[in-house]
């Protein structure tokens, strides 16, 4: 049995690092709320001056579209790559996998010029499409892994019943795969919401299309040392993802634990 000393050490270490993780965030909250006075003035002023209503909406639109499209595409491709054999299937999988290694920094500059030449710069679709591509890379890897691990018996049973591949996927595997899909949705949402570099480069002049993180960076440039305002802005931008995380943390962590390489 583990000794009391060991248990004490364990709880002490865990608590210490929990405090380290949370302390800066608490400091930010305290600065934004002007504790101990407790005032929400900074929030309302930041909200107004930082145009966050608009920017949060844009982020929401982008995240929703990216998640829905990337999930659908990933499920379809992952299903095929995970349950069917066809020539080039393996190669295709590796091609998708390679995308996990490609950092945004390597593609953002060409994307700037390419999107511009087709008139997609400074538009939300211009911001969504590259992120769908990046998310698909992870999504295909993830869904393929799930479909491969699905019991062959389920698939065979459906096949014997005369179901087409589509029906098998829809009626049998997806319902069972909800946790895996939820994890994928949750991770893609987080990565898309938090994306900054793409937004900075692509939404470079149309203010009304800025996403929340980009809005925050502009806000900092304009209110450089008005710290309560800035902290309020930071909280406004970070909170949506944190809230989803708190309720679904199991899925976030499960995704990261199995080696998702996208960051």
């Amino acid at each position: 049995m583990t000794s009391r000393a060991e248990r004490l050490t364990t709880y002490t270490v865990l608590s210490l690092f929990a405090v380290v993780a949370v302390f800066p965030l608490l400091a930010v909250v305290s600065q934004a709320l002007d504790l101990p006075h407790l005032s929400f003035g900074a929030f309302s002023e930041a909200w107004r001056r930082g145009h966050f209503a608009r920017y949060l909406t844009n982020s929401l639109i982008v995240v929703t579209v990216v998640v829905v499209v990337a999930s659908v595409l990933s499920i379809l491709a992952g299903y095929a790559l995970g349950t069917m054999e066809f020539r080039g299937g393996s190669l295709l999988f590796y091609v998708f996998l390679a995308g996990l290694m490609v950092p945004t920094e390597a593609v953002v500059i060409p994307l700037y010029f390419d999107l511009r030449s087709v008139g997609l710069d400074n538009t939300l679709p211009g911001l969504m499409l590259p992120q769908i591509a990046q998310s698909v890379s992870f999504g295909v890897f993830w869904m393929r892994a799930y479909f491969r691990s699905a019991p062959r018996s389920l698939i065979e049973a459906a096949r014997i019943d005369g179901a087409s591949s589509w029906t098998t996927m829809r009626r049998v595997l997806i319902p069972v795969g909800r946790p895996a899909i939820l994890t994928m949705v949750v991770l893609i949402s987080m990565w898309t919401w938090n994306e900054f570099l793409l937004a900075l480069v692509i939404i470079n002049s149309n203010e009304s299309r800025r996403t929340a993180p980009l809005g925050l960076s502009i806000f900092q440039g304009q209110h450089q040392t008005q710290y309560p305002l800035l902290m309020a802005g930071a909280l406004i931008v970070a909170t949506p993802v944190v809230l989803v995380y708190v309720f679904l943390q199991r899925h976030f962590i499960a995704g990261m634990l199995s080696g998702a390489v996208k960051e």
Binding site: G88, V95, Y112, S205, E207, G221, Q222, Q224, T225
Partner: protein, 447 residues
Amino acid sequence: MRKPIVVLAAALLAVSACTPGSNTPKPTQKPPSAINTDIAKAGPVTLTVWDQEVLPGQNEQMQKLNAAFQAKYPNVKIKRVSRSFSDLEKTLRLALSGNTPPDVVEANQGYGIMAALVKAGALVSLDPYDKVYGFRKRFPAGVSQLNSVTPDGKTIGSGSLFGVSMTGEAVGIYYNTDKLAKLGIQPPTSWGQFEQDLALAKSKGETPIYFANLEKFPAIHEFGVLLGQTADKTALRRLVFGQGGAWTDPPVVQAAQKLADYAKNGYFSKSANAGKYNDSPTAFAKGDGVFLIGGPWFAADLQKKMGSKVRFMLPPPASAGAQQPATLGGPGLPLAITSKSKHPDVAAAYLSFMSTPQAMDVVTQTGGLPATKPATAKPTNPVGLDVFDAYRVASDKDILVPYLDYATTTFLDTLGSALQEIIAGRKTPQEGMRDAQKDYGDFLAKK
């Protein structure tokens, strides 16, 4: 086995295997007779204007002027995008070669922005419009000179006119009258006196010069003021325009040495390289610093925060009563018309509107320093009046030297970094100036 990737890649590469940038067409100029000055007949127009007037007084100035323009021409709607100077610098260059660039931009003079844009054909020459609106007639020759670039984009300071400034700038010294009184001194009338004052302030526990230099460019103001003491203004102008001289010349290194000495003696704010520039008025108003080196852009904010406790002076001469030394300054960031604008005539009318004596009234009233004489307005507060008169003196005595970062496309970064290192004591003045000279020499060789 078919490798679809390879096939796809090869096809796409073949399709666009062109040299980058080879498909941006150069736009054509309209001859003067075709210019339309009757803006009201232009139909509904949206004019997108990018500016960096984010400080409170400047912001008010733009809002008032834009509102007045729209009142005069109800068919024109102005879409204003404003952001900080640093942010604007970063996004301007490439934005103008995009598909939906703004119509009017505040384009910083110098090789970094304006000349680069002219070289790429991204700005419209104002010469045809000058014939109609008489821009050059409105400003002293030196002002128009600085807003000019040769059409090939290779030389600044001459050639075609590309920008129209609303404001003027001269870098000088703000001082806190309360603190001077507490130290028992008068505003310095000579540079030697100024240095004595700095030492006195330091000995009494004050921050002699408030200095926030995170963005790198503020040090250029400090350095420029020191250069005015050690170097000759004609030589400095030639240096900035790339016509001769080197940053390793003795007078320049002397100024850098002074900068290093001031930092070592503790005359600047502690952690100067970490302070944020736009915070300066707030900090200075809170009592951090006896002196603040800066230009007219601070005046409105300082006046609001400090009232008559703050005053402004040009850098004093070496000895009391001697000739006024050079300092940095010139026309403020000019408005320019982009070549992809669909409404260049309306934009030109906008530029004209923003540089009339009436517009200068608005600039003055919002605490700014006008580029030319206002119709009626004069600043009513002490520091505003100081700044106003100082600029008149500076223009009359022709002592303004262009901002040093004009000298190369990367000089703001390279000179700014070198100065930061000198201030932090990490490089000697000689080493720092050698770094700056290297960038300068490379640039001139490539021109």
